[in-house]
Symmetry: C2
Subunit: 254 residues, 2 copies
């Protein structure tokens, strides 16, 4: 590793619908890619149910272990949306109505001729001491308290909130990543991969097999990752050379 400060994050996906298999999660991948773009490493994800104790426990465990925690889900107007209350409990603060959030919601509903109700006002509730995260898509804002960033669960709304946070979290450099795709069974090249990995302790080489008719059947992607872009490139070149020497066919454009 290049000795620079590494910024880490954890993601808490909140929702019974993910744990029941009803809904396929789309937030893990998009949060992971967004964090990488900010120079922050996603080191752990937990998916927890809509149960206060489970959310409190996850927030408390992860908030002290990482620079940032992101949560998705459970911030709508219905009774099963308990993320705000649970995060407030994790921080030991009360939940209050945020006047700026109320004003945002009021003008969102006014513009659409919709009445503000008690249920809609729920979306202006925040843990005391929190800040808001813009939601350009659907009015109801996200919430930041301490190092916890509370986002919507609906993937396109979560994406809009991430965009609003772009460049606002301190991070390092994005991890550099080079992918080499080859016509090779993983087990054919395992020894070779290990040798190159041992030669380059500052990188990690991942091996991901696939089977795709269109690409001639079995193959694997070898992904070289490092904080140090030059080192990643040197390692990738060494690996390409070794694969070619071993008679492995590389596939362009991976």
């Amino acid at each position: 590793m290049s000795g620079q400060r590494v910024w880490t994050a954890a993601l808490i996906v909140i929702g019974d619908e993910i744990l029941s298999g009803r809904t396929e999660d789309k937030n893990i991948a998009q949060v992971a890619r967004w964090l990488n773009g900010q120079g922050i490493r996603l080191q752990e994800v937990r998916v927890v149910p809509d149960v206060e104790d489970a959310i409190v426990e996850a927030v408390q465990a992860l908030t002290s272990a990482h620079d940032y925690v992101i949560t998705t889900g459970g911030i709508g107007p219905t009774h099963d949306d308990i993320t705000i209350d649970s995060v407030a409990k994790a921080f030991g603060v009360p939940v209050i109505i945020d006047e700026r959030a109320r004003a945002i919601l009021q003008s969102y509903y006014d513009a659409r001729g919709i009445e503000m109700t008690e249920a809609r006002l729920r979306m202006a509730r925040v843990p005391k001491g929190a800040e808001l995260i813009d939601n350009p898509t659907s009015g109801a804002p996200g919430v930041k308290i301490g190092n916890v960033h509370i986002l919507a669960g609906v993937p396109n709304i979560a994406a809009a909130m991430l965009e609003a946070l772009d460049g606002k979290l301190e991070g390092g450099s994005p991890v550099a990543s080079v992918t080499i795709r080859a016509h090779a069974a993983e087990s054919e090249v395992a020894a070779l991969l290990k040798q190159v990995q041992d030669q380059f302790p500052g990188v990690s080489i991942g091996s991901y097999p696939f089977y795709r008719e269109a690409e001639g059947g079995f193959g694997a992607d070898f992904v070289v990752r490092s904080d140090d872009e030059q080192l990643a490139n040197r390692c990738a070149n060494a690996l390409r050379a070794r694969l070619l020497e071993a008679g492995i066919e590389l596939i362009d454009g991976a």
Copy 2:
């Protein structure tokens, strides 16, 4: 709740490729649905990197908290496949070559005219005391030790291993689930939902908003879940009646 024994499980998804956002996870949803079919509730998921300490910690934390733990990922032939070693460490047992696994691999490779190598033999390594899980798809078996079930990360191989486990884990009844789809903004019906939820403490009502052009724009799915199928149906009928009374249009075929 109906007072019957509830069987719970946790899933550990192992892999840097999920945490980097390179690969979108497909195992959480399929494991969740499979467990539900076995009458076992998935209560927590953790995604951890290819780092021994992280895997050991997750296995130790979850194996005592749940009836079953399932892991996906990290059981191939390459240097980044460290699940077997990590689970063995979590159980405090050595890793050995399993002779039945070796025989399975040998006959798989013999049938294809492929030579057994040290890398391929890695896939016969198991924590001492483990049993095997059939892999009808690609030879290399899954592994069971204690209540931990170690599956492949490639989704179709994981699916084949789950199929091999069908009916082999003791469980209760599958959770009964009824979905009501409606042309309604969540915030319009939040109060009504909460009233029905309070009337039926043995069920959980989840509310999942969507926006789909093809279905006339904004809507929501209300999902009624319970261990008790009759109770779920009674609650769903009560909810349908209340929604219709409130002038909400229901969408068939949800």
